[in-house]
Subunit: 333 residues, 2 copies
């Protein structure tokens, strides 16, 4: 990623054109019921219905299709066991080039199956960050593949920002857009896009309290280490990069944290009232409304993904206390 | 319902105008993945995302808003413990008139809560059909409320038919539209609309084999009794009426039946691959594709509803054999 600058708004506009044929324009669903419960007009951007089941397809497609043909032909690579890995494999498949995915030994079989289902080639490594980075570096040296980081990459960030351009063609300007924060790619892309397309709209990142490096980094202006993330939101355990922190501080309003119990309650609310399957990370922004951490007249909540193990939904967990009620008033229809 | 004739296509067009401000234009989602698996272009009409979580809001709104003001003021009534009851309560609430719902003692608390959440007044009766009908008749005599049958009602049928008019503004003419069949309101409305809007499109009803009165009635041309329905699809346990059978025979192509195991497999497929919450009844049409009972180039599947108990999803059921694999090839991404 040496030599790659920060994305600008024009990069997001270019991304929207580049990815249009390869991703879905996802529905935006209003909920009068949840709006009444929270005392705000609320709409949900359904990136759980995105190709591959997550917004990650936007950034991955943008990065892969921006490569020159001779560079793309050598393939793309990443180290990830999450939605970005599957999204990159899918993007490479659509471009007709190989995708090399370094995954830690013992990664969930369903994640590996998703990558392989899109034709991605999985290389196993030891389950440490150092081993993953070393394996990926070796891979890139051996193959000449282009490394596509899950979030510390200007084209990936620009791709994620296209959500705002879609929103702007389908709804009125909201006062607040809520997005989850892990490494900060979605937050920084969304905030950059909103500052240009919808000045005055506040973009707020929501993060599990058990993995609050972004919250601490945003507040201090210095990258803070993640420590041991303790959250059910498996997509949000990464740490911000210097680039995503810089972009978030320049364009986003704030970062708030939410409790694990609120994340589970929000997830169940999405299943129950919106009739949508959402993964824990995707329910994190709604948890901020449940906790009354955010107040505004019009809110857009980004439901970022829906890839969840249906055999072990967290409200069915046997561990006592894991699924206690979230703060805030109970919901009536 | 004496003196009410059969609905005509013009009634469906009128219904579309009448209900527009009160129901959702639900998304239509294509799935390249499921299309490849089934060898057909397939799109899903997401009535699980409809207001109240089911298509029933269409017919209920149409029936309630068609009433003259003085008649409406006396309220509306039905006997039902399912989606129609909640939809009628919601429709009455929007019109500002009372809704009286006769429910059998012991009906699921969640169903009662849904009705009461929309301001409906619940009257309990003994859990037999005779007791329900007697209680509803008494109620209508006492209050002057208008009885709105869940499906044996021309305005309800016309309301359900509006799905086709929405489809016609958003997609190409499909070869087949698949809908679930219980009492036949959705099937007869859809088939009537399709015959006029999309001549040549076959509308096929799909019914659980364990509650196959519609299948037998359609084949013989004579109303067949339901017997003891044995199916997880709780919305499809009703029996056709003379009116819905007549309309279905005049306008629909056929009715096919599916196994319980296929219904559960289809339901899980919708959660897992489409990221949508669907109730067993709503997954029944997809089960027909899983069982290879239907073959066509372009198919629209109506996901009719999403009201399901999230604490006891059927693939988590402990009973062995209840969740065996459905017929048909396994799915790959």
């Amino acid at each position: 990623m040496d030599g790659m600058g920060d994305p600008e708004f024009a990069d997001i506009e270019a991304a929207a054109e580049r990815i249009a044929a390869h991703v879905r324009r996802t529905p935006l669903l209003a909920s009068a019921e949840l709006g009444a419960a929270f005392g705000t007009h609320v709409e949900f951007k359904c990136e759980n219905l995105q190709e591959g089941g997550a917004f990650k397809s936007r950034g991955a497609i943008n990065a892969v299709f921006a490569l020159a043909a001779d560079v793309a032909a050598r393939g793309v690579a990443t180290h990830s066991s999450g939605n970005h890995a599957a999204a990159l494999a899918r993007a490479a498949q659509r471009r007709g080039v190989p995708a090399f995915i370094v995954m830690p030994r013992g990664a969930p079989k369903v994640k590996r199956a998703a990558v392989e289902g899109f034709g991605g080639r999985v290389l196993e490594c030891e389950p440490t960050l150092a081993a993953r980075e070393a394996a990926a570096a070796q891979l890139v040296a051996d193959t000449g593949a282009s490394f596509v980081h899950p979030y510390d990459h200007p084209l990936v960030i620009a791709g994620q920002g296209t959500i705002v351009l879609e929103l702007a063609t389908t709804t009125e300007r909201p006062d607040v857009i809520l997005v989850p924060v892990g490494g900060g790619g979605l937050l920084s892309g969304t905030a950059l896009a909103a500052r240009h397309r919808w000045p005055g709209t506040r973009v707020i990142g929501v993060e599990p309290a058990g993995a609050d490096d972004a919250f601490r980094s945003f507040a201090s202006g210095q990258l803070q280490p993640q420590g041991e993330p303790r959250t059910i939101a498996d997509g949000l355990r990464g740490a911000m990069s210097a680039r995503t922190l810089r972009l978030a501080r320049a364009n986003a309003d704030s970062i708030v944290t939410v409790a694990e119990s609120s994340i589970v309650a929000a997830m169940k609310l999405v299943f129950d009232r919106l009739k949508l399957v959402v993964e824990p990370s995707g329910a994190v922004p709604l948890a901020a409304l449940l906790e009354r951490k955010v107040s505004a007249r019009r809110v857009v909540v980004v439901l970022s993904g829906g890839n969840v193990d249906l055999e072990s939904l967290p409200w069915l967990a046997p561990s006592p206390g894991a699924v206690e009620a979230a703060p805030g008033a109970p919901l009536r229809r």
